[in-house]
């Protein structure tokens, strides 16, 4: 059963029965979230402005972060209580892939099982930002992308872990 915004009181998003979270959900930044963003501007000696693909950009105060950033860098950071980005590190040598935020939990999986599986199957290192960004470092990157696309398409279905294992695993492993 699909339910639409307005079907129930205080329901603003599309929901599918049996799935707790909305199946389509535009990211809303929250303090504590770990996100991936792109450096889009610098206020000289004050802050970097980082686009986190939401309705506002975050500032990273130069005094608190201890690294130098360039415009165009992709960074991983944590959203602080006052909406700045802290604990920043640069993501280097990785392919950055945006996915719908509502499907992110399926890409990570319970206790990280799914993201670990993707890494094994494509021999690469993966990470995610709460704002719907996946990065893939090393290994068979295009294979990892295909697997992620497949998971996104099946995010509302059951047994996706087994499906991915059998479809993308090495045949002799089974």
């Amino acid at each position: 059963m699909i339910t639409l915004p307005g079907d129930k009181k205080d329901q603003y998003y599309l929901m599918i029965d049996g799935i707790e979270n909305p199946i389509e959900y535009a990211y809303i930044p929250k303090p504590g979230d770990i996100v991936v963003g792109r450096v889009i501007a610098e206020k000289k000696n004050v802050a970097y402005i980082i686009d986190i693909f939401s309705y506002y950009a975050l500032s990273a105060m130069i005094k608190t972060i201890n690294i130098e950033l360039k415009i165009g860098d992709f960074v991983l950071g944590t959203i602080s209580q006052n909406d700045n980005l802290e604990d920043i590190r640069v993501i280097k040598n990785a392919l950055i892939y945006r996915v719908p935020t509502s499907k992110l939990s399926r890409i990570v999986g319970t206790k990280g099982q799914m993201i670990k599986l993707i890494g094994q199957l494509s021999k690469s290192k993966l990470g995610v930002g709460r704002n719907g960004v996946v990065w893939i470092e090393g290994g068979e990157i295009s294979k990892a992308i295909n697997i992620i696309d497949d998971i996104v398409r099946r995010a509302h279905m059951k047994d996706v872990l087994d499906y991915i294992k059998s479809k993308y695993g090495d045949k002799d492993e089974n």
């Binding site: 040598n93 950055i96 892939y97 294979k143 992308i145 295909n146």
Partner: protein, 255 residues
């Protein structure tokens, strides 16, 4: 949105011999065309290469001739804001204009349409507006526009002009098509030449080249774009691949 650096692209390519979407250098993405899909147009088609989608429609009017003894063909490509977050509404920018002119050139030089036969009186004739709208953009607008435009021309219907009235319910019974054109676009990233660039590959490209051929394997339009350079070898490889792809594109257009 997908992002990667030129270094990553080249490193991956040198290690696996593949692009980051898993393709070889001379591999096209999946192509689909559907013709005659807009009943308000006098010829229409929708084409898809990978995730890039272009819809083409032709409207026929009557007008004064711009060029002596030739009916008017006006080709325009619209980078609709719906297609990509970087496309904004407003007057066409240089990218949009370049694509429109490159697409126009191929149809014109190959004389795909018998524009002379569409003249009615010494200074009056049919005016054909061939308009293309990019609906979804993932690189290679040019080849997708050529496919959609050619598809639209293949189901072109010319309304009858009688007693100074254009009657859109009656059509001339003959075909005005004299040729077919086939476009192949390549980009150069570092030292690597690749066919049918997706969005990121277009962004990373140092240079690009579009080769347009006609049915007889004549070169009818070439456009090199970008700050980088191409070797003679690059251009020869591009022409060879383009010739080899003619049959495949032809089957999709006619099918």
């Amino acid at each position: 949105m997908m992002y990667y650096s030129k270094d990553l692209f080249l490193k991956y390519y040198h290690e696996y011999g593949l692009r980051l979407d898993g393709r070889k250098w001379d591999e096209y993405r999946k192509i689909a065309i559907k013709k005659d899909i807009i009943s308000t147009a006098e010829g229409s088609a929708i084409a898809k290469i990978g995730k890039t989608i272009v819809i083409a429609g032709i409207k026929v009017e009557i007008g004064e001739l711009f060029e002596q003894n030739k009916a008017n063909l006006i080709v325009n490509v619209d980078l609709s804001p719906i297609a990509h977050e970087s496309f904004i509404s407003g007057p066409p920018d240089e990218r949009s204009i370049e694509i429109s002119r490159v697409v126009d050139r191929g149809f014109r030089s190959a004389e795909v349409l018998d524009l002379e036969a569409l003249v009615l009186e010494p200074n009056k004739g049919y005016t054909l507006f061939l308009d293309m709208y990019i609906l979804d953009y993932d690189g290679n607008a040019i080849d997708t526009c050529y496919l959609a435009g050619m598809g639209a021309l293949l189901n072109l219907k010319i309304p009858v002009y009688e007693n100074n009235i254009l009657d859109r319910s009656k059509y001339l019974d003959k075909s005005f098509l004299k040729n077919t054109v086939y476009s192949n676009t390549f980009v150069k990233i570092g030292d690597e030449l690749i066919l049918d660039p997706n969005y990121m590959e277009s962004e990373l490209a140092d240079a690009s080249i579009s080769i347009v051929l006609d049915r007889d394997r004549n070169l009818v339009s070439i456009q090199k774009s970008g700050n980088g350079q191409l070797t003679r070898d690059d251009i020869n490889k591009a022409i060879d691949i383009s010739i080899n792809n003619i049959d495949k594109i032809d089957r999709l257009l006619i099918g």
